[in-house]
């Protein structure tokens, strides 16, 4: 009976993940084509798209989303490839590698706020250079953040996506025969970076292609980062859709639904374009390999890449430090690098209000992560026990909630909930979070779970243990470290979610992230400092546990230390 259920677990989990996405898409598409009488009258047709085209910001918003997504993704990938090609294998890279996971955990909104506080006209970088280098006695009247070209937004996305792609590349490297391919290419006279790009990267890219597409779809459609760093007139398409969807005027939701359809098409086009570009790059690479170019990029190229990596690291760390500084600052006049007066007043003022959101964020994160973990473990155990590997189609379905833009299907889910008379609450938000937490939990957990020495299981069985006992007494305890790591990643993902909390919660479920992002328009830097730091702390705390606990737990077991 239990085995019967376990055998079907992967299918059930996939269905549970994919169904809300498809239902949501339907709930978004139907009103846009006038096929569902949700917001007033329903007349089948394309009338609403005419209204959408009539919006003056339509084409600029479209172009902006397209540009931001493609440039941010290409830039992130380029930086990551350069970084690994040039830097991998050195001691300093090892150190950088340890910084990756916590770097990844810092919520998008906090990274974006930190970047604002660094590069804004009154930000820390300008203060550092003023007035001795710039001559500015007051903040210059420059549009650095929220620039119409979206470059600040691109910078924010690159800062956040480089650690993610880097982790994916490192994981893929562990699974491919990289070091031998590298050795072979170098023994044939290729410089390290060239050897990596020509001999190893093609193997690695095959494994990170889906994560790259996830980054592309995400960058095109992200809302919270775009609210903080992106331009406002017009904003990127996703932000405008969010505005329409949350407008008290319900008729605007039709417009939002039409916008979501366009957004979906836009992402589809961008992915198609990316896949086409892949072929071009591959052709170029093959020609390079044919021609026998062996020399590396030279010191200038290397410095550029390392500088980029340092900038990424610096932006996150310095950004958090400046956030912290603002949160305890009293008066802080312009060119001064340090606050004129400092105190805990802001914390005393905001923390009592934040406690409520903090607990809610924490509860949602824990619940969503635990459910996702149970689902992932069930899936992986079924896969191991019945030798049923997940097919290519399954992997795409697994990534579906990350590939289909949130803004394209969450409004539909919201609409369906409205139709069904379901009030969005903490429970609904938690369920929505599971959709986005599960793929990451699975991603982190699956490699170590599959790499577990199956002979240990056979040994356990030969000693008379049932499959269940092997799982609970052997496999799970031995996988404590990756399980905790997966939970930490899951909680960080949940804490950082903005749109699901906003849309599925119907604006009534306030989390640290929704509150922090809501502060963006007000510009109260001290309040933003407090909220963004609280958000970061909640996302980082599980990582501390995940790093420290296995070592403490297994402190008397040498054989458990490298795992």
């Amino acid at each position: 009976m239990a085995a019967w259920g376990l055998r079907r677990a992967p299918g059930v989990v996939l269905a549970a993940l994919a169904l809300p996405v498809f239902a949501g898409l339907l709930g978004t598409l139907a009103p846009a084509f006038g096929l569902m009488a949700v917001f007033g009258q329903a007349q089948p047709g394309f009338a609403i798209f005419a209204d959408l085209l009539a919006w003056a910001g339509f084409w600029p918003a479209l172009w902006l989303s397209f540009k931001v997504g493609l440039v941010a993704t290409a830039l992130s990938l380029l930086l990551v490839v350069g970084l690994v090609a040039i830097w991998q294998g050195s001691r300093s890279f090892g150190l950088f590698r340890h910084a990756l996971a916590p770097l990844l955990a810092v919520p998008h909104a906090a990274v974006a706020f930190g970047l604002v506080f660094l590069i804004a006209p009154s930000g820390w970088v300008v203060r550092l250079l003023s007035p001795w280098a710039t001559g500015w006695q007051r903040p210059p009247d420059l549009l650095i953040v929220q620039d119409p070209g979206g470059w600040a937004l691109i910078a924010g996305l690159v800062v956040k996506e480089v650690p993610f792609l880097l982790l994916m590349v490192l994981a893929a490297l562990g699974q491919s025969d990289a070091s031998r391919a590298m050795l072979m290419a170098r023994s044939l006279g290729y410089a390290r970076p060239m050897a990596w790009v020509l001999a190893v990267f093609p193997l690695v890219y095959r494994q990170i292609r889906l994560p790259v597409l996830v980054v592309l779809a995400f960058s095109m459609t992200v809302v919270d980062v775009a609210l903080i760093l992106g331009p406002s007139t017009p904003p990127v398409l996703a932000v405008q859709i969010t505005r329409w969807m949350n407008d008290p005027d319900l008729s605007l939701r039709m417009l939002g639904a039409a916008g979501a359809v366009v957004q979906l098409l836009l992402v589809g086009m961008a992915i198609a374009l990316w896949l086409l570009a892949e072929r071009g790059v591959a052709m170029f690479g093959r020609r390079w390999a044919w021609a026998g170019h062996r020399r590396g990029p030279g010191p200038v190229g290397a410095a550029l890449v390392l500088g980029g990596a340092m900038a990424v690291l610096g932006c996150v760390v310095l950004g958090l430090m400046v956030l912290a500084l603002w949160s305890v600052s009293g008066l802080w006049s312009f060119p001064n690098l340090w606050p004129d007066t400092m105190g805990w007043g802001q914390w005393q003022r905001h923390v009592p209000a934040a406690i409520d959101s903090l607990w809610r964020s924490c509860a949602i994160a824990v619940a969503a992560t635990v459910v996702a973990l149970v689902l992932a473990l069930t899936w992986l155990e079924a896969e191991a026990r019945f030798a049923m590997p997940i097919g290519a189609g399954g992997v795409w379905l697994l990534y579906l909630p990350l590939l289909v833009p949130q803004i394209a299907f969450l409004p539909g889910v919201q609409t369906l909930m409205l139709l069904a008379g379901v009030q969005g609450g903490v429970l609904a938000v938690t369920l929505a979070h599971i959709l986005f937490v599960f793929p990451y939990v699975f991603l982190v957990l699956s490699a170590p779970f599959r790499a577990w020495d199956a002979r240990l299981g056979t040994m356990g069985r030969a000693l008379g243990a049932s499959p269940a006992r092997v799982f609970w007494r052997l496999r799970l305890p031995m996988l404590l470290a990756p399980v905790l790591a997966a939970m930490a990643v899951g909680m960080a993902v949940s804490v950082g979610q903005y749109l699901p909390s906003l849309m599925i919660g119907g604006g009534r479920v306030s989390t640290l992230t929704t509150e922090a992002v809501a502060l963006a328009s007000g510009g109260d830097r001290r309040a933003i400092g407090v909220w963004a730091l609280l958000q970061t702390a909640l996302a980082l705390a599980p990582f501390a546990v995940a790093v420290l606990l296995p070592g403490l737990w297994w402190r008397n077991r040498r054989g458990m230390r490298q795992g």
């Binding site: 002979r455 008379g464 404590l480 297994w554 040498r558 458990m560």
Partner: protein, 222 residues
């Protein structure tokens, strides 16, 4: 698991393993209690597949025909844990998260409880010359000590047959002879039918039993 079962032979009755319609191996064999049959053959001849088939650890993608008879009953439909067949690998495969004593206790039948359980583990440790090693981290043991713990863990599960998968090939030459004596001695003492897969002719010579040569997998096999 039958604690005090009568010694009985291990019999393979036309055991046949096929993968996607291709027959990987076909074997009939009779191993008497206390007898050690050595299975030899080139890599890829299906030696490890044979052991996996006997113990029930083949993946579901394999097709199995024939019988594995133990104590007069066909166990080939039973799950691994219900077969009562113990196994030792080239690596001791001690569970790294459990102490030495917990590793031994993992093998001991559940019916032994409370103080008796502690006494049984103590006695087992003393038996292999490792008295007082119970709380130790298995990773801190020497290669020979690990091998002895692995053997004792398997014996504590009171198997009715024993499979050895190149059990001595990871050991130093001097330790190898010593462990051979220990393992073979214990198996004979317990009247266990033993099937040993090995590359080493000295293993087979020391075992003293019949030698089965598995041929290279024939591409022409039906």
């Amino acid at each position: 698991m039958a604690q005090n079962a009568q010694p009985a032979p291990l019999v393979l009755n036309g055991l046949e393993v096929a993968l996607q319609g291709r027959v990987l191996l076909r074997q009939s064999l009779q191993v008497q209690p206390g007898q050690i049959v050595s299975v030899m053959g080139p890599s890829g001849a299906g030696k490890s597949t044979l052991l996996a088939a006997i113990v029930g650890a083949l993946g579901p993608e394999f097709r199995l025909r024939g019988q594995v008879m133990l104590g007069g009953k066909d166990v080939s439909a039973l799950p691994t844990e219900a077969r009562g067949i113990g196994m030792l690998f080239q690596d001791p495969l001690l569970f790294p998260h459990l102490s030495v004593a917990q590793n031994l206790a993992f093998g001991l039948a559940r019916q032994v409880r409370g103080a008796a359980r502690h006494r049984a583990i103590e006695a087992a440790l003393a038996d292999i010359g490792l008295a007082g090693f119970g709380p130790r981290d298995p990773a801190t043991l020497s290669g020979g000590q690990k091998a002895r713990v692995a053997l004792m863990r398997t014996l504590l599960a009171a198997p009715r047959a024993l499979l050895l998968d190149e059990p001595f090939s990871a050991l130093d030459a001097d330790l190898r002879g010593q462990m051979r004596d220990v393992v073979f001695g214990r198996a004979r003492q317990a009247h266990l039918p033993v099937v040993m897969v090995t590359h080493d002719p000295q293993d087979a010579a020391a075992a003293g039993g019949p030698v089965v040569h598995l041929g290279a997998p024939s591409a022409a096999a039906p």
